[in-house]
């Protein structure tokens, strides 16, 4: 690794001010993505500010109204093991457990999880082939290169990478809120507004600015929470990023869907809500497989696969169907 300075933050206000005034400073919590990026020279901060000592940021609190407060420094494994998280939102616990390994889950913070960078092999390559995310203006090697793992929605000619987080997909399905503290104070950012599509500026993954610190994720109470499921399809059965994944949460009356929340991973530069399918699924019986299939297909009319990933369209549609059936069975 390159050389850098390391200091410990004990006061959030000072930490935020330091981050706002030094564009070469990076916060570090679990470090499981940042240190990998630094070893691959995809991130070259000159100063790391260790935020693990900031007060009251690791709390996992089930709220009285049925929601959930998750401090940004809470570790993936602690959230996944929390009995009330598992009861209220199985999709959150499952999405965490299907990610990374036991060791990494003990280290990685939930704030950092949301900020992990793409696993696009061109972006991570320390030989630095053209990549607009890594080196703006250099081009996209994946657009006409090996793009089997890349996006089928939301990509631009400047970047076709997908976002790697699993739990972000669950949070997107549940319309969670990212609580951010910046120079101007604390502001809630709805999950739907948190990530950016690449457009012509793929170097920016999200809407955060210098001086912004994620302090928590808040999940509101959802009638669909209990009947929820995360399904992840990968080249290996374990310890691998998603080809496609889906977070599903449903509320049913009898066997008929009253409300469905659907989001996908592995298909877009951000967690991808299937809004058209959610509308079309209302009133459909979980036993009418053909009707479920055609409702789900509404969200894939707009899919734009690349040269090597057309298989993701059918794989994604089938994954949604299966996840919906599993979640529906959890009423």
């Amino acid at each position: 690794m390159h050389t850098f300075a390391l200091t410990k933050a004990d006061d959030p206000e000072k930490a935020i001010a330091a981050h706002a005034s030094d564009e070469k400073l990076a916060f570090i919590a679990g470090g499981t993505d940042l240190l990998g990026l630094m070893k691959d020279r995809a991130a070259l901060p000159t100063r790391l500010l260790d935020i693990n000592g900031l007060p009251d940021m690791a709390r996992i609190e089930p709220l009285e109204d049925g929601g959930l407060h998750i401090g940004a420094l809470a570790r993936m494994s602690d959230i996944a093991a929390h009995m009330e998280v598992r009861r209220r939102f199985p999709v959150i616990a499952e999405s965490l457990l299907f990610a990374a390994s036991g060791q990494l889950r003990n280290m990685a913070s939930i704030g950092g999880n949301l900020l992990q960078r793409t696993r696009c092999a061109y972006f991570r390559d320390d030989d630095a082939p053209p990549c607009n995310k890594r080196s703006p203006g250099s081009g996209c090697s994946a657009l006409h290169g090996l793009n089997r793992n890349h996006a089928i929605f939301g990509w631009s000619n400047d970047c076709v990478a997908t976002h790697p987080s699993d739990v972000a997909v669950a949070f997107a399905a549940l319309d969670a809120t990212v609580v951010v503290r910046g120079v101007g104070g604390v502001r809630p950012i709805p999950f739907a507004d948190f990530y950016r599509l690449p457009g012509s500026t793929p170097e920016r993954d999200n809407v955060l600015s210098r001086g912004d610190l994620i302090v928590a994720v808040e999940v509101p109470a959802r009638v669909e929470g209990r009947a929820s499921h995360y399904l992840k399809v990968r080249d290996r059965q374990s310890y691998e990023f998603a080809l496609v994944s889906v977070a599903v949460a449903v509320a049913v009356a009898g066997r008929h869907i009253r409300s469905a929340r659907l989001a996908m991973g592995g298909v877009a530069p951000k967690p991808w809500r299937l809004a058209d399918a959610e509308i079309a699924l209302r009133g459909v019986s979980l036993d009418e497989v053909d009707a479920l299939r055609s409702a789900i297909a509404r969200s894939f009319v707009a899919a734009r696969p690349l040269e090597h990933n057309a298989f993701k369209v059918e794989l994604a549609e089938r994954a949604v169907l299966r996840a919906l059936q599993v979640a529906g069975g959890r009423q």
């Binding site: 390391l6 410990k8 036991g102 990494l104």
Partner: protein, 182 residues
């Protein structure tokens, strides 16, 4: 904000770790990983460097009693913490029960991944006993207990430890055996 304890020259940080029950003081550069500090500064070479990218699990140690990858954390970030390595697993010359089970079940060939496998395996048993579910658990909303630790559960929970010799079946047998004896 406090700087790393100074007085050691530019950029060098004084770090105190409780390693295998002994207080160890060392001076490291900020970029020194916990793995490199253990191997290069403290000569605890039982912990192995495989990929150095958090992918193989060979560098697994415990910090504060939890299994972590020592290649993916900085030594200076663990100042004041308790660290356990494979050298700290035996007690007065008596092997930990999983170490003994690895010998009994022939859980290794070349041995390079073995310390990471054993560190992870001991933690897998403790995590299951603490009620942690895994991706192999059918219904995470139900409580989990050590008796639910099937071979499929062990394989899933050990997926962060790669074995190039592919001793996986014997590793699973050794962990299942040690879990029963717990």
């Amino acid at each position: 904000m406090s700087n790393g304890k100074g007085g050691l020259g530019d950029g060098v940080i004084a770090v105190t770790l409780a390693v295998n029950g002994h207080v160890r003081r060392l001076a490291v550069e900020p970029r020194t990983t916990l793995l490199d500090a253990l191997r290069e500064e403290l000569a605890l070479t039982g912990t192995k460097k495989g990929c150095d990218r958090g992918e193989c699990g060979a560098c697994t140690v415990y910090v504060g009693g939890r299994r972590v990858l020592s290649c993916m954390t900085l030594a200076a970030m663990q100042d004041g913490r308790e660290v356990t390595t494979i050298e700290g697993l035996e007690r007065d010359g008596v092997l930990n029960s999983l170490q003994a089970a690895f010998v009994e079940h022939d859980g290794f060939q070349c041995g390079f991944c073995t310390s990471g496998q054993i560190m992870s395996g001991v933690a897998v048993i403790e995590e299951a006993a603490a009620g942690w579910p895994s991706a192999a658990t059918a219904d995470v909303a139900k409580p989990f207990s050590l008796s639910d630790l099937s071979d499929g559960e062990i394989r899933e929970r050990m997926s962060g430890n790669l074995c190039r010799c592919a001793c996986y079946p014997n590793i699973v047998d050794a962990i299942a055996d040690a879990a029963k004896r717990r």
